[in-house]
Symmetry: C2
Subunit: 781 residues, 2 copies
């Protein structure tokens, strides 16, 4: 039965968000709450020689001042990798709440809890710190050189490499390379970009009697709980983490801890014996939390003359900043999804270096390494097409990974409609009419295309499981408990569409309790494009079990209580007839929209649930299981115009075709894709964090970090292709990160089509574009 | 293994409560919250002719005014009976949030939500109400007479009887009566008394987008949730009820809805589109919420000359006030536990009338009808002893119910140490030396005794089940989820002692998530002396299942991952040896204090839990089951002195001997008994609600309601007898209500011993005592 799956059900959180009633961490207040402020390092690399907090402590209204001297020295990671690494892997634990050696401009030196934010900030000025300034290193290639300053001398594995290096291969690259007839070797230079989510990092922590409660912006409440327990040496059972319930955007920046908001607030609450709230300023959010990894990726792609790819080697050197956070895991995904996924290449080699520098950390950001790898490989593919004078569309299609292929996942490809995606995107953009048309004049048009894949969950890279529990209330309505957050993607709506159809109850009678470790068993959180896919999978399993239990109890109950049921006044008032029922065979029963029916039987679940309730029977089911990963596939075609005088690129249209398996809620899927495209446009032509030595990053907020604005948004044609994957719930795959992945390479390709210049560095800002135009065309275009 | 059961573990809520950090509903504030005030009827019985709220609505700061005109007309009951009646029973639904006909002084007429409490109260004065005053009736015997005013003409079954009457019998009373050789027929007159719990009724409700969240003082979050769903025609799944988490005393007054705090706050939130908090003033709490039933009970007891009881007939006429709430169920318990439980009497008849009057409602109050019945039967027993010139101790002991007896429960008596209780109480009070000593002079001493029983849960009177779910966290600590509230009894500590021993983990690593419908499956709440008993029973069942699952997984895991485990760095740092392990047989494994051990094996659960976590395995178990009721037994002996000049009684000592099965936490058991004794002293000599016609009850708060103060507290000797009941968890029975039950009859008996006057009416205030002394002794004592 499918009453809800596939429908554009309005999102459950829409009302609360549109009316301003939805609570976010920024909104939360509790009686007796204190406010925190943090003193941050003005140096990129320095040792704290002395720190004097006496004056700050004496300021009226100050309850606690925290420094490395009076707080835990436990090493941890702010990334959820700390508690979600797969068996055998070891997380990199290189952070402390307040390090004695600060490693980037913005690193945490001290924190104050006071009755008002103003007093807390005032107190910061009274803290006297003496630093020994140390030499610093900013570029990952510089950092890898012998003799470079070591950012994490104790932890890194030499030459500032924070873990790994990550290396893997399939086939025999050297052999494959030798079989090649055409070759491309390109290097792309990628910027550090910022999630720029609307709600800054924030946490309200309350510690009392050995129990810690934290309300925060985490997109992974359960892992965050485990991490806080680890940091403070507490039993996990004694830590509660919850969203309030909404989170103002995730995009990966709070998989684990939101910056350090949670441990800072918790540590201050422990010292102050009061609830403490810490809200990052926009500047702190920009300068002291994870970004996307920038750096350098070199790909070498070999093909036969007919276009068949035979070998691919990629080397990634990415800047992970002062602390590893997700550096190691992400470099793995860059290789696997970003370089080894899209195309069927028999011989592959990948080598990834996550490199420490004295800059803020880079970590998880929508796409998690895949956009970087995709940029390199798609650049090489276009290069091969050019060398062979082949249509990039055809070259891609002949080389794409196909259903049933063996690849780097430990299971074959379950389903892919990638070639249909490529065709659909090309068709929508007008590929045949517009591609390769020689452009003249000041405004030049071009179209480009790029393809990609990603994941539908985090398995097998890391632990990826959810425990769902479902229960039927006394009136037959359904309670679903899950620890997932709602970071804006609409999962809390889509999952209930699945639950309604699987259990067979009306959508509007289901409640999802989410975002809290107190009300749900373990859940790994919203990331890795996994929420609808993995959690939906579990809901499907548990829902079927629950339904079976209901039907079985119903059959027994009716058979054993025939006369009671026939004279039941609650039933008489219904329009269902009970007379002449045969003995009920459970196998003949089914349930849909809250009605249990079978041969000659129709009875509302509300009646059965009530009869069960008054007899002490609760219908409840719980389970955990990790579904195999079933990657989504996508192709974007872009149309651009380039202004030859200003170097300004306008993206006119993105045709985004996605094999999403099955659209549980099509309009929500479209929303995800469109949001991803917006970020991809920024990645391609506008966004970057600019570092100024001794000053730190220039981009301290929305005014200096150039997000694309609404007038820069292209026309979008979002095309959903349903391959009805055999693994996913109702055939669905993940979608959350995909809209971003092929956008930038498609735009780069379109720009090349327009002006004949291939850009190997993004963003293609007017300055960079104009410079290249002048190099290539001189002043006379 | 019993590491914790039986120990005086300090209570978990102690720190929060002692430091003032514990949150109660009164403390809770949320952003944008409005405050409510309620307009109450000044008449005992009246019809609202017109009500004009325009001016109130126009007052600045007023967001909503609720009256019967703009709110739900749904009939409900504020008692949890509404959703917990056993199969076949029908709850009495006779209340509305705002009735058009008001039925007692204090009945709800209108409510206002405004930005401050002051404005809300100001707005009440602007509401214009025109009443048609109706005749009223106050005494239940008057109310039962033909031609009396009908309080609930549509609902009551004639003559103001709100349900039933409740009638039951065992044996053949008439036959038994005819076999009797001595007879007693007495009538006791019982006062209406008030729970006087410290925190007044309060609720904060927030309604948005079809979802209702209520934080309140309910002692039954799940039933309250069901009731609110019913009242507002909402799916139960869309209502959340929680304590914040503490409740400032329960004593029965909030089994279901706290007065009407929850629906009033919810209705106002629906109208105002804002969160609304309603806190009862002390006066409202005293005058507009359930009390204990007062009224009249007549018992006729027949015995053989050797003292053997042969027949007992009891007729109770209790004043249930304007609405039934728990009237019907309570009259059943009065008969079953109060009259038919303590003694083995072959022929019993009981008839109970819950009678409507135009006074505030009477409902559940610690003891739930048993204190009233016990007062009648113990009076008759003393009377028989006097007639036979037998020692009341011996007469009781020869007639008590014995282990294995068949009785009114549908199963035989599982265990009783009642005779040991009687002996212990008599011994402690110095019965042999002090009883029957002729007293002269102004201050006269006496000792008395009384016995009783009650229940350990609400089964089979009503639905009584709990669903517990336990899960092991990633570090091997234990999360227990239950919907029970913590109303002050310490259940949230005692239950974890049971969980620690059953599962085999350290007490300090367990967290209990309680008091919220969002974080727990169904629980019937804290009442009926049931929490530790029933919930402990389920924890025992579920805990065993969880432990078995852990041990079984552990055996499989070790057997399949021997080399991984042998080289596991997490294990190496432990002091446990793994070399030379044989194949692990699950049956050889056990767990205690978080260590799994077997032949040559010792491994911390923390390691197994982590290994399970990173493999996507969650240890989780959930179950529901209702244990048979296993009544507790008790005897109290009292020593008093009576001042013949003032009529003032001082209770010098109470020896309270209780068969509690097993003391899970002895000091908490003692606390429960002592608290009950304090209430029993008040019931015997001080407390009563005094009605003044046309004015209502005189007792509007602590200043006018005479609770016993600390200087009136007797010495207490609390004696715990452990019969190790075969049904209860670790042998435990309930205790919460028992300390109150035999206290008042023991004091009445002691007063008779002191001054030779039997009181048939309580409380024995100085005024009443002096009047009797003058009647009996004249002015010359």
């Amino acid at each position: 039965m499918s009453n809800y799956v596939g429908q554009n059900i309005p999102r459950n959180d829409g009302w609360d968000k549109a009316t301003g009633k939805g609570m976010f961490t920024h909104d939360v207040k509790v009686p007796g709450m204190l406010y925190a402020a943090v003193l941050r390092s003005p140096y990129a690399h320095a040792r704290i020689i002395s720190i004097d907090t006496k004056e700050a402590e004496l300021l009226s209204g100050v309850y606690a001042v925290a420094t490395y001297k009076n707080t835990t020295r436990k090493l941890f990671s702010t990334s959820a990798a700390m508690v979600t690494t797969a068996p055998g892997a070891e997380p990199v634990l290189d952070q402390q709440i307040f390090p004695e050696v600060v490693r980037y401009i913005g690193d945490e030196v001290a924190a104050v809890a006071a009755t008002t934010e103003k007093i807390a900030r005032e107190a910061l000025k009274l803290i006297k710190v003496e630093y020994e300034i140390l030499p610093a290193v900013y570029d990952p290639i510089e950092a890898m050189k012998d003799g470079a300053t070591q950012v994490q001398p104790i932890i890194s594995k030499g030459n500032n490499i924070c873990g790994g290096p990550i290396e893997f291969g399939m086939g025999d690259f050297s052999k494959g390379w030798n079989e090649g007839e055409v070759f491309s070797e390109i290097t792309v230079t990628l910027p550090r970009v910022k999630q720029a989510q609307l709600e800054t990092h924030a946490a309200l922590a309350s510690y009392s009697n050995g129990y810690l409660e934290v309300t925060c912006t985490s997109q992974t409440p359960h892992p965050t709980k485990m991490m806080l327990a680890y940091i403070f040496d507490m039993p996990e059972s004694k830590v509660k983490v919850e969203n309030p319930p909404y989170v103002g955007g995730g995009f990966g920046v709070r998989i684990g801890i939101s910056g350090k908001a949670e441990p800072i607030a918790a540590q201050l609450s422990m010292l102050a014996h009061k609830p403490v709230k810490y809200v990052y300023t926009r500047e702190e959010d920009f300068l002291a939390s994870d970004t996307r990894h920038g750096g350098y990726i070199t790909s070498r792609l070999a093909a036969k003359k007919d276009g068949t790819f035979v070998a691919l080697d990629t080397k990634a050197v990415l800047n992970t900043g002062a602390y590893a956070t997700f550096g190691v895991e992400l470099l793995g995904v860059t290789g696997a999804c970003g370089t080894a996924g899209t195309y069927r290449i028999p011989n592959i080699h990948y080598l990834g270096y996550p490199v420490y520098t004295n800059q803020q950390t880079a970590g998880a950001f929508r796409g998690f390494g895949t956009p970087q790898g995709t940029m390199a490989v798609e650049t090489a593919v276009d290069d091969i097409a050019k060398q062979l004078n082949m249509d990039p569309v055809e070259l891609r299609k002949m080389n794409t990974t196909k259903t049933g292929d063996s690849w780097w996942f430990p299971f074959p490809v379950g389903s892919t409609d990638l070639n249909k995606c490529i065709d659909a995107a090309a068709e929508s953009i007008g590929w045949k009419e517009k591609r390769g048309i020689k452009q003249v004049g000041n405004i030049r048009h071009g179209v480009g295309i790029a393809a990609g894949t990603h994941v539908s969950n985090a398995s097998p890279f890391c632990v990826d499981y959810n425990v769902i529990y479902l229960r039927i209330e006394g009136d037959g309505t359904l309670h679903v408990a899950s620890g997932i957050p709602e970071i804006g993607a609409g999962s809390t709506t889509g999952l209930l569409q699945i639950a309604a159809d699987v259990v067979g109850v009306p959508f509007e009678t289901i409640h999802l309790e989410f975002g809290s470790t107190a009300s749900s068993p373990f859940d790994i959180g919203s990331h890795a494009t996994r929420t609808l896919y993995t959690v939906g999978h579990i809901i499907t399993l548990v829902g079927k079990e629950l339904k079976e239990e209901i039907l079985s109890w119903t059959a027994d109950f009716i058979n054993n209580n025939r006369s009671y049921m026939e004279s039941n006044p609650k039933i008489e008032c219904q329009k269902f007839s009970f007379s002449g029922w045969p003995t009920v065979d459970v196998n003949s029963l089914n349930m849909n929209e809250g009605i249990i029916y079978g041969e000659n039987i129709e009875i509302p679940l509300s009646i059965i649930a009530y009869e069960a309730h008054i007899r002490g029977k609760q219908f409840i089911a719980s389970k955990c299981e990790v579904p195999s990963n079933s990657p989504p596939w996508h192709a974007h075609a872009a149309e651009v115009e380039v202004d030859m005088e200003t170097g300004m690129i306008r993206v006119l249209k993105i045709a985004a075709a996605h094999d999403i398996g099955k659209a549980i809620n099509p309009i929500l899927v479209e929303g995800q894709i469109e949001g991803g495209v917006a970020m991809g446009v920024g990645y391609a032509i506008r966004e970057e964090m600019t570092y100024e030595e001794e000053k730190g990053f220039y981009n301290k907020g929305y005014h200096k970090y150039m997000l694309p604005t609404i007038d820069m948004m292209p026309e979008m044609d979002t095309i959903l292709l349903e391959s009805n994957d055999p693994i996913g719930p109702f055939g669905a795959k993940g979608i959350g990160e995909c809209g971003l992945i092929p956008t930038a390479p498609a735009i780069v390709s379109a720009v090349e089509d327009a002006i004949g210049i291939r850009f190997y560095e993004i963003p293609m800002t007017p300055e960079r574009v104009l410079k290249k135009i002048k190099e290539v065309y001189g002043t006379d275009k």
